[in-house]
Symmetry: C4
Subunit: 293 residues, 4 copies
Amino acid sequence: MSDSPQPDPFPPWRNRLHEVIFEADDPAGRRFDIALIIAILASVLVVVLDSVEAMRVSYHGLFIGLEWFFTILFTAEYVLRIIAVRKPRRYIFSFYGIVDLLSILPTYIGLFVPNAQELMVIRLLRLLRIFRIFKLVRFLGEADALRHAFIASRHKIAVFLTAVLIIVTIMAAAMHVVESNAGNPDFSSLPQSIYWAVVTMTTVGYGDVTPSTPLGKFLSAMMMLIGYSMIIVPAGILSAELAAEATKHAKRATTQFCPSCSRDGHEFDAVYCKFCGDELNPQDHHDDAEGST
Amino acid sequence: MSDSPQPDPFPPWRNRLHEVIFEADDPAGRRFDIALIIAILASVLVVVLDSVEAMRVSYHGLFIGLEWFFTILFTAEYVLRIIAVRKPRRYIFSFYGIVDLLSILPTYIGLFVPNAQELMVIRLLRLLRIFRIFKLVRFLGEADALRHAFIASRHKIAVFLTAVLIIVTIMAAAMHVVESNAGNPDFSSLPQSIYWAVVTMTTVGYGDVTPSTPLGKFLSAMMMLIGYSMIIVPAGILSAELAAEATKHAKRATTQFCPSCSRDGHEFDAVYCKFCGDELNPQDHHDDAEGST
Amino acid sequence: MSDSPQPDPFPPWRNRLHEVIFEADDPAGRRFDIALIIAILASVLVVVLDSVEAMRVSYHGLFIGLEWFFTILFTAEYVLRIIAVRKPRRYIFSFYGIVDLLSILPTYIGLFVPNAQELMVIRLLRLLRIFRIFKLVRFLGEADALRHAFIASRHKIAVFLTAVLIIVTIMAAAMHVVESNAGNPDFSSLPQSIYWAVVTMTTVGYGDVTPSTPLGKFLSAMMMLIGYSMIIVPAGILSAELAAEATKHAKRATTQFCPSCSRDGHEFDAVYCKFCGDELNPQDHHDDAEGST
Amino acid sequence: MSDSPQPDPFPPWRNRLHEVIFEADDPAGRRFDIALIIAILASVLVVVLDSVEAMRVSYHGLFIGLEWFFTILFTAEYVLRIIAVRKPRRYIFSFYGIVDLLSILPTYIGLFVPNAQELMVIRLLRLLRIFRIFKLVRFLGEADALRHAFIASRHKIAVFLTAVLIIVTIMAAAMHVVESNAGNPDFSSLPQSIYWAVVTMTTVGYGDVTPSTPLGKFLSAMMMLIGYSMIIVPAGILSAELAAEATKHAKRATTQFCPSCSRDGHEFDAVYCKFCGDELNPQDHHDDAEGST
């Protein structure tokens, strides 16, 4: 609201750089983001293809060249990002700062530690950078809606998973007793039985661990039906929420009683009693504030 | 609301014990709950690892020691719980009282009945105690929302499962006739066919029982499509509920017309017209009763 | 609404019989329904157990006796139902009338046509009779909510299935070309490929038909992702419905324009313009009727 | 609204043809659509049956005859469609125009290029034409609701799939390192591991690629649980949307207080207080713009 501009020691070209690299409000920023997505996907494709034996034999030289090309590109981008921000330290130790670093480090480390296959996994973490661009690019604003949906359900998913895991463990123990007594080696240990229980309850059903006894098959069928019934859960969650909402609204309507006829159920903004026509008490403003929380 | 305190024969230290053990409102209670969750999970981990052959050979002594440590811990907790409550008998025969007992008994029984593998399953029931803590710990209040969702949909899930089981049985019988006539041993009996039908309709699909005839494959595909279409059911449930709600509201609002200005849209309990202030006709009470059914 | 009773040629004991057998409003009717559910489930259990080789060898005599016991019981019930209704012909040719007949006929036919395994399937149709009881028994009123949900979504499921089948057929054709050219016998014909496509898209995944070529695996992964994304569809259906509802409401608010300041957006029951304070035109009642359609 | 008719060079019989072929408002148009659906399904059935070895040997002549019959029928329909529209070029290069052409071309090309199995796939694209009829036929109006639902969720599905694919790739890389180090040939390359990850996360679970190491099985179970938890996402999406809606409404209503009676709850566009009739403060337009973002 203040009109007096503050002197800014930050040079304008770094501001401009920040706009292009970190934002997507103008054409230059948007073009940068699209180029970055293409570069990330292309570099991931190189890593994926390089892991195929037949491909590596024929094109390993090309793949190494491309990997170095993308690494140098992402290194330049990393340096520019550090230059563009006012507080480089905060960026470097932020989640995306670390992801940016992890997507270039493995190639450099590979110079000294050859054949370190584990480094490849770290290189693929650069895929996470696509999420940052999603956050920026305006025309993919739907990502926000889905992110909010995930945040809105993250506690529910956590509690849901805990309940699922408790059912899974107890059923796994029962199956372990039933099946390993019948000599089925698939259920020889509890961890193996828990693996089976997760495969079954989530309706994945590889079929690498299957029950062999009638009782085991009966328990399995029980478990599948439990897992399958969960498709009704989303409707249950929403119904419960809508019901809670409705109750809350209903309560809001019942906070007032008519001073002359003592009937309640007046709407929130009513001034006169709808039953006897007498004037209602002016609403207590403290009450209001609480009601709107 | 009464200010006069009643003499309480229950000593305050037992009240305090009750607060710490059964509630989670103060830091001590919360710390107790977190310690209990860690102890439960650790003791379950010991049971799980002990079931792995390779682990048992190397660390069986350690596992037995830990199991006794946790058993004595939970026994102490069980005794404290009995002391803390005013009516011990009610606690002992409650659901969680029995779960608490069942999570310590097997180790003691194991002294007299060695190698009783079935006792292990009972020991894992202590996982159920996590639900009680969920109910208490304030910061996991989401558990409540999900519990309400389960309660809200428990009748629907029961009816849904009955319908699913009827489809499953009839399809299983059809497949039994089709496939066992073609000599497929996987469908040799009805229970085996029902097992296949559950595996298929819940989209688990182990693949240990599969159709071999063209007609069998066609029936299987039918069944999968039935099972798969169920993902639309949650939306259907909510739509039907919202529509029912809307109809109820519409009915409430449209049954009355003002005798002087002939306008409708009055609420169910309105006595005076909200447009011209004239008195509305007294509602037919017989109509009321029908409307609220 | 007419108070004058009509002379009824139907004897009261048949009315009473109708109440007990077809309704569930009084204790007798409810006890009859519960007994019927138990009899149906028991008779189905007999059929299921009789199909197991080991069981049939030991208890075949017992199973035959029980089957005849239930058949005579259901025959008596069938006759009583015909006596209890006013228009027996309408009952006999109704859906449940035919199901009632089909659940007793096979045992009688079995006297003349021995070893007719196909008759067993027909006998299991008596499970469908549980639906009728569901419709009656008041305390299972949830069945109604779910039935409405099914009815509300039956058109959507039909269209959804058509779309799924079109995708399934086109993908199956593509896989047939790709995989059978590579010599994979699993995809040798289009029906077999369609079977695979249904197994895959519904996320059942038996694993009895699997792709062997890289391109085939890529197409399969595409298909799984299409099938899996469908879990978002219920939310989409409801969002679209809620949006349509909101638009309809918004339209209701915009049908009026203030005669003096020509602004729209007035609420449905407003009498004075909220922008200039002038009186609004009394609402056109024809318009109302259209708006409420 | 203009009553003066414009001279139309388009002959009425072509208008009538357009009504019958492209629309479904009158009985003739509806009968045409139903006949077309039957013809499409029958021609697809011929293609499907012809792909079965045993069928082709016995009835290949019949199938070729039927295929030519349907091709000539659809060719006639294609020509009539071109005649019926005012701008043939726009129709020919529209999506459905190309689908119409592609459903007749392969049979003609098959005259010159025998045994071109790939042409069969293209022929099955004629199934897509059913969607056009769905769009027309009034009594299947539910297709519209589902189409809107798909359109409403298409961005969400796109973002959802991107997130799924990123998780899938990173998990696949981890499994590739874990399992191929343990000598499991199923995870020998990254594309193969990605195929496994998609099969697992979508809960398809063929079982043709399965983990063999304990750590691999643990990661798989993690992944299944991630995939399975997604059934809560639809509820999350709707909750988030409803909450956003509620917040928007709340904001619209609570930003203004009446300067004379200090009551809030005014609508966004109100000029006069609805409780005391005094004029409200003119809204800050800068605020407006921000609020509507």
